[in-house]
């Protein structure tokens, strides 16, 4: 599960696109890749369009990524969640933890908004 | 076991009485005359049957196959009771048209067939 580091107008962003499922088998790899990527950036977008299923270990891994991003003063958001994964998020109330968007555009612009509001507050 | 037979117009009605099991399935096999087999309009009335085991069931099914070979059909008359349960349980009921009245079953064959 690679995390690509891309430079955008909203800064450097790590983009991960998990496929099929995040579960006990691949969640450790996700954590490892995330730790590596965290050295380069603190803004992350998870493209979940191809994600079909999450088990509790996978969900745990996602939440730990979120926490790490937050403690690095960064952000992590999701987009393109399919109805199945949405049910799992709702059931476990994970939908209240993550900023969730419908597409890449709105996910990206959320970073922009945050940047501007930070600049304003400075 | 006794097997009664009657002809209602051109329909052959077979009425086994008593027990139908391995010891007497060959009677059932023989009960269908060649003529009736060709004619292909058979009703098997099971309302007087008291007991049916798997070989009896097998005999009834093989009779159906014989009739079907000549493009005929065999209808069953079977009141809702133990005997019908055997058909339901084994899903053999899917192979038959099952009636609760013998006369109606006999009349159900399409008319106008030579």
């Amino acid at each position: 599960m690679d995390i690509q580091i891309t430079a955008t107008q909203h800064g450097t962003i790590g983009i991960a696109a998990p496929k099929d499922r995040i579960d006990a088998v691949n969640s450790r790899a996700l954590r490892r890749h995330f730790d590596l990527a965290l050295k380069k950036t603190n803004q992350f977008i998870f493209d979940c369009r191809k994600l079909d299923f999450l088990d509790s270990t996978g969900l745990g891994a996602l939440v730990s990524c979120l926490n790490k991003a937050n403690s690095a003063q960064g952000e992590l958001c999701l987009f393109g969640i399919n109805p199945k994964v949405k049910i799992i998020f709702e059931l476990t109330q994970a939908d209240k933890l993550f900023p969730i968007f419908t597409d890449m555009e709105s996910a990206l612009s959320s970073f922009a908004n945050r940047k501007t509001s930070e600049e304003l507050s400075q | 076991m006794k097997i009664y037979q009657k002809i209602l117009e051109d329909v052959c009605i077979i009425i086994p009485h008593g027990r139908l099991d391995a010891s007497n399935t060959h009677y059932i096999q023989k009960s269908l005359s060649e003529e009736a087999e060709k004619e292909g309009r058979v009703v098997m009335d099971l309302s007087s049957l008291e007991f049916l085991d798997s070989s009896g069931l097998g005999a009834i099914i093989s009779l159906l196959r014989r009739v079907k070979k000549n493009d005929g059909d065999m209808k069953l008359v079977c009141p809702a009771d133990k005997i019908r349960r055997v058909f339901e349980l084994t899903r053999a009921d899917r192979m038959f048209d099952i009636y609760d009245d013998c006369e109606v079953a006999a009349k159900s064959f399409p008319r106008g067939k030579a």
Partner: protein, 461 residues
């Protein structure tokens, strides 16, 4: 007056993939099986005879509803063909339908009525014809005597039908009845407080919160800090762990709901969770989130299994020497073929690999080997291990098609010898299932023993 219910398998086949643990007509709406609503309504109409005409198997229904004596009525079942139209079904049940006014409910649907209304007068006097219909069904009164009745229009009670054609319908109907129409039906459970129905043996932790309207089944445990309701229908044998909430949701029987979960506008049963609006289904894999509460599964009694295993062990001991000798001789002649085959060992799809032996020799040696059932030796070892039964169903090769067969064949019990060969029955290929179902429903130790003996004797000839 009599009731004739007509339901075809194709009308509820959509249910098959969701909550499979009961017959579709036993699907619960507000914890009450669909069929029971029809029974209740028939009783309100003063009807004592109900017949269900269906092309679907009814064993489970018979187990659950029997002959209807629990309701003081007579309930029976009539098998029909998938293609039968209404008049053909009436014909097939002509003895039942004769000389009586008929209430005919056709289709997989829900009939709204009100238990406080006396329908007897209405039903006796209304003109024959359709009373109501919906996308998936209709209800009508039929009369072969065609006497026209008269009912003052103002007095006629309103009847309406709702389709039951997807999981969303089950959810919607359940919620509607629970929220607004619970006084129209007889619903299960004690009802001391308005809009709260609770079954027996229910434990609710002190810190749990119950907000009406709710229905809770029997043997339910609700742990601390949990919020149940408004709009919760909870089946029997359900556990809801701490810090969870259930709202506008239906939980079917035998379900465990883990901690810190939020159920809102969902249906769930076992580890399956369904969104009623979109129909999206998810099977969760974490038993600590959602799972099926274990119940003792119908399996072969221990003594049966031991009998099968010990008999196989004895057979293996007796056959070991001849097997070694004959296999060697025939292998040298290249007339002993081993083939591996993966077969299903139960109806839920577990598999095991078998070695199938074919003896391609019609000479004396081959005949003796076959009559000693030596080609079954490798399979008997599987029986000894308890993977297969000694006598039972034909072992079905593990493929997609057979997987579908097994979905409808819960009694499936693969074995070294099959009932079909014990009976030398039947001639046609597709009929083996019939004889297997016959014997599987009646199996006992003695019967199995005799059938196994028969199968062995058959191979002698």
């Amino acid at each position: 007056m009599k009731t004739l219910l007509i339901v075809k398998e194709k009308e509820f086949s959509w249910l098959g993939s969701t909550f499979q643990n009961c017959h579709p007509l036993a699907t619960q709406i507000c914890k009450k099986p669909l069929l029971e609503y029809f029974i209740d309504f028939s009783i309100l109409c003063g009807i004592n005879d109900i017949r269900l005409a269906t092309d679907a198997p009814t064993e489970e229904l018979v187990d659950q509803f029997g002959q209807g004596s629990r309701w003081g009525i007579s309930l029976d079942y009539s098998p029909v063909r998938e293609t039968d139209e209404l008049d053909e079904i009436i014909q097939k049940n002509s003895l039942y339908c004769k000389d009586s006014r008929l209430l005919v409910v056709k289709g997989f649907c829900f009939l709204h009525y009100d238990k406080n209304i006396d329908y007897k007068y209405f039903m006796h006097n209304v003109e024959p014809g359709e009373l109501s219909s919906c996308e998936t069904g209709s209800v009508r009164v039929m009369d072969d005597l065609s006497q026209s009745g008269t009912v003052p229009a103002s007095d006629s009670p309103t009847l309406s039908l709702s389709p039951v054609s997807n999981v969303g319908d089950i959810h919607r109907l359940s919620m509607e009845i629970l929220m607004d129409h619970s006084d129209q039906y007889v619903l299960p459970g004690y009802n001391n407080e308005d809009h709260i129905y609770i079954g027996h043996n229910v434990t609710i932790a002190k810190k749990a919160k119950i907000i009406p309207p709710v229905m809770i089944g029997n043997h339910v445990q609700i742990y601390g800090e949990t919020v149940v309701g408004p709009g919760a229908i909870i089946g029997s044998d359900v556990i809801i762990d701490a810090h969870s909430s259930v709202q506008d949701s239906v939980i079917f029987d035998k379900t465990y709901v883990g901690e810190h979960l939020e159920l809102k506008n969902k249906l769930l049963g076992g580890n399956l969770i369904v969104d009623p609006d979109t129909g999206t289904q998810v099977h969760l894999e974490d038993p600590h989130l959602l799972s099926q509460v274990k119940s003792s599964k119908k399996s072969l009694p221990l003594i049966h299994r031991i009998f099968h295993q010990i008999t196989a062990l004895l057979a293996v001991i007796i056959m070991a020497l001849p097997y070694a000798a004959f296999a060697l001789i025939l292998k040298l002649q290249k007339r002993w073929l081993n083939e591996k085959e993966t077969v299903f060992i139960n109806s839920s799809g577990r598999t095991v690999e078998l070695v199938r032996v074919t003896i391609k020799d019609d000479g004396l040696v081959g005949r003796i080997a076959r009559s000693l059932s030596l080609e079954r030796f490798p399979v008997l070892i599987r029986v000894m291990q308890g993977k297969l039964a000694l006598i039972g169903s034909r072992a079905l090769p593990a493929d997609e098609e057979n997987r579908k067969v097994l979905d409808e064949y819960q009694a499936y019990r693969p074995a070294a010898f099959s009932y079909a060969e014990a009976e030398s029955w039947p001639a046609e290929d597709s009929d083996w299932e019939i004889v297997e179902r016959f014997h599987l429903a009646r199996r006992s130790l003695l019967r199995d023993y005799l059938m196994a003996l028969k199968a062995v004797l058959n191979s002698f000839n």
